[in-house]
Subunit: 150 residues, 2 copies
DNA sequence: GTTATAATTTAGAATAGATATAAAGTAATA
DNA sequence: TATTACTTTATATCTATTCTAAATTATAAC
């Protein structure tokens, strides 16, 4: 809900590497931008924001990179906020997103109570959780089985 | 997660009326379809499903109706599940949505623990909550003020 | 350092979910 | 039944996202 510090920018590169991603200027810039903001930007927003810094950046790269980051579990998709665009968040700690249905802003709300729900949900549902927001992302039991066989 | 009964179809009409919406066959059909399913359909899905029953139905009507239902608080937008389309749910009780990042299905998970979070979030954030899912939809304080003045 | 190669970026075209528009139809009220 | 505002419809349009093919580049091996 505030300009609270999110994460250490210096570790952005190492975290990308640790995830098995090649270290390109585009990826570093996109991931760093996400880590440094609380505003849950869309792909378009990131593209516009990084234009000055990376004039050759293409929209496809932003989308590709975001997809890679989500797959590696470095950022979470928040989904759309009624504005028809997907929002992204690099804050992986369990927290509530408050989505304004009028102006489409997304605020954060941290509450210890919510952390306790994670284990319960995971255990009883059979999902493998990939995040803990007010929407839980994960693989359903059927998909876990299919992935294991491939 | 199961074929659990959702709501009484007979009350679909009265609930539409109580919300101040005109009673058209299209609206009744769309709202009833949402109330009767656990599958969190998209606008497109609803359109296809209702084709046999209402051959003249247009996509715009589905979108218009869903928007009206959301505005009146009769259904919730779940947002997209990684498939680029917005999903809808007529189950207004607080519950977790489990979104599979692979096959994009959305399951439900009810937990009493979550109900307790509502009041806390509402009180401390200043939002007026319109729903309680793992994403909370509502109006932010700024929007509440603006709406009050118009 | 070079080189090889597989991943990545790029620009632009293509796709598809969602919205806007204007005309025709219809529910609700008196 | 007549009126009127609200709805529906079909079509055109918008725009977020994905796809494609060619050019580029990060990484590892030499």
């Amino acid at each position: 809900m505030s300009g609270k510090k999110r994460s250490t920018p210096e570790r952005v590169a190492e975290r990308l590497k640790a995830a098995g991603l090649r270290l390109t200027p585009q990826r570093v810039a996109i991931y760093r931008a996400l880590v440094q903001t609380d505003s849950h930007p869309t792909a378009q927003r990131l593209y516009e924001q990084l234009q000055p810094e990376l004039p050759s950046l293409s929209q496809a790269t932003v989308y590709n990179t975001l997809q890679a980051l989500v797959e590696k579990g470095l950022v979470h998709e928040i989904g759309d906020a009624g504005d028809g665009a997907v929002h992204y968040d690099a804050d992986l700690a369990p927290h509530v997103n408050l989505v304004c249905t009028r102006c489409h802003r997304i605020d954060d709300f941290h509450a210890d109570l919510l952390a306790k729900a994670d284990d319960l949900v995971a255990a009883e549902s059979g999902y493998r959780l990939q995040g803990a927001r007010l929407v839980y992302y994960g693989l359903c039991p059927a998909c876990q089985a299919e992935v294991a066989h491939s």
